[in-house]
């Protein structure tokens, strides 16, 4: 029987990052509610000032409530990817959601993730959990090989242009050859290859001279 044991750490890290963000949202809402109480106690007679200050607090609270809804919706969608072992996966949407949920995790390391727009996103039939785990492993593989404070650009190439996902460090000063060498010799690379094999995907270096990882979406059984 297939188990999810190997995906536990991945799920834990994504959930921890997202719930931390949700806690921040709730802390801001709580502080704004407290500030409204303070304002009401401070100057109940000066109505124009009172209304102006309260309006600002309400605006901030609403903004945070929307942020909280986005985070919980994203986390809910992420949690539901465990529902089935095989499902159609919209590559763009699943990457977008994973980036949204793990933004904080990477920002802690000074890394920003950027997903380039994709007009006609490919869809593949696969195990959504393993697919996301592979995306996560690509990001971690890169972040552990590159210098901190380098951003990562993720590009989806449609079937017409290559049918693959590319993860590139955004660093023009990088020695591409030696970076790729370190990348493909790292222990994380072996793990990535093993996990990709489980759903018939293959990780490759983008090219010998261009730094980064490429995951082909043509599943070879």
């Amino acid at each position: 029987m297939k188990t999810r044991d190997d995906a536990t750490a991945f799920f834990g890290q994504v959930t921890a990052s997202t719930t931390h963000e949700i806690q921040n949202v709730l802390a801001i809402i709580k502080e704004n509610a407290g500030l409204m109480e303070d304002i009401l106690l401070m100057n109940p007679d000066n109505l124009p000032t009172l209304l102006e200050n309260l309006k600002r607090c309400i605006g901030k609270t609403k903004e945070q409530a929307y942020r909280g809804v986005d985070l919980t919706s994203g986390l809910n969608a992420f949690a539901h990817t465990t529902d089935t072992f095989l499902a159609p996966v919209n590559v763009y949407e699943i990457i977008k959601n994973l980036i949204f949920l793990t933004k904080r995790f990477f920002l802690q390391k000074g890394i920003k993730l950027a997903l380039t727009d994709c007009n006609c996103p490919p869809s593949i039939m696969t195990d959504p959990v393993l697919f996301q785990k592979i995306l996560w492993m690509c990001l971690k593989c890169l972040t552990e090989t590159m210098d901190l404070n380098t951003n990562i650009i993720i590009t989806i190439l449609t079937p017409d242009t290559g049918n693959k996902i590319e993860f590139r460090p955004d660093d023009p000063t990088l020695d591409n050859g030696s970076f790729n060498q370190r990348l493909s010799r790292s222990a994380k690379w072996d793990d990535l290859e093993r996990t990709c094999k489980q759903i018939n995907l293959t990780p490759r270096l983008i090219t010998q001279t261009l730094p980064g990882i490429s995951i082909g979406l043509d599943q070879k059984s």
Binding site: Q23, N24, A27, E31, N32, L35, K60, Q108
Partner: protein
């Protein structure tokens, strides 16, 4: 005189609102959005109490605490964290943090902790001053 407080947290909206609430309670508050910004400002300005979030990008609260303690060992630091982990609390306290609060915290509790930290710093400085005076008197044979 107002107690001068520095708050470092990468959640801009959170520290802005918290700062407003502390200012209402008569504290003079400065906010920064990162551990490195906190270290930078502590080198230039003398604060009475520093509040550090544990999880910040690049230099986290624990690393910032280590550096701040080297710059200004007597300034009490209160750590704030979103995670209720005892490990963080123990590590922060071992490194010389005055206290540790779990977010979201009660503003009244935080204000109370700031006052306690300030009083502690004041007592400590007073003891050092007293010891220095006694030392001068002793060396001069008075």
């Amino acid at each position: 005189m107002k107690i001068k407080v520095l708050i470092a947290d990468d959640e801009k909206e959170f520290i802005e609102t918290l700062a407003q609430r502390l200012e209402i309670r008569d504290f003079a508050v400065t906010t920064v959005g990162s551990g490195s910004a906190a270290i930078e400002i502590v080198e230039k300005i003398n604060f009475d109490v520093i509040i550090l979030d544990v999880q910040m990008p690049e230099i986290n609260g624990i690393d910032a605490l280590k550096k701040i303690k080297k710059i200004t060992p007597l300034t009490p630091v209160i750590m704030l964290t979103g995670e209720a982990t005892v490990e963080n609390a123990i590590q922060g306290m071992k490194l010389g943090a005055f206290d540790f609060l779990i977010k979201p915290t009660q503003t009244t509790l935080l204000a109370e902790k700031i006052k306690q930290a300030h009083a502690h710093k004041h007592e400590h400085e007073e003891r050092i001053r007293q010891a220095e005076i006694e030392n001068i008197l002793r060396t001069r044979g008075w």
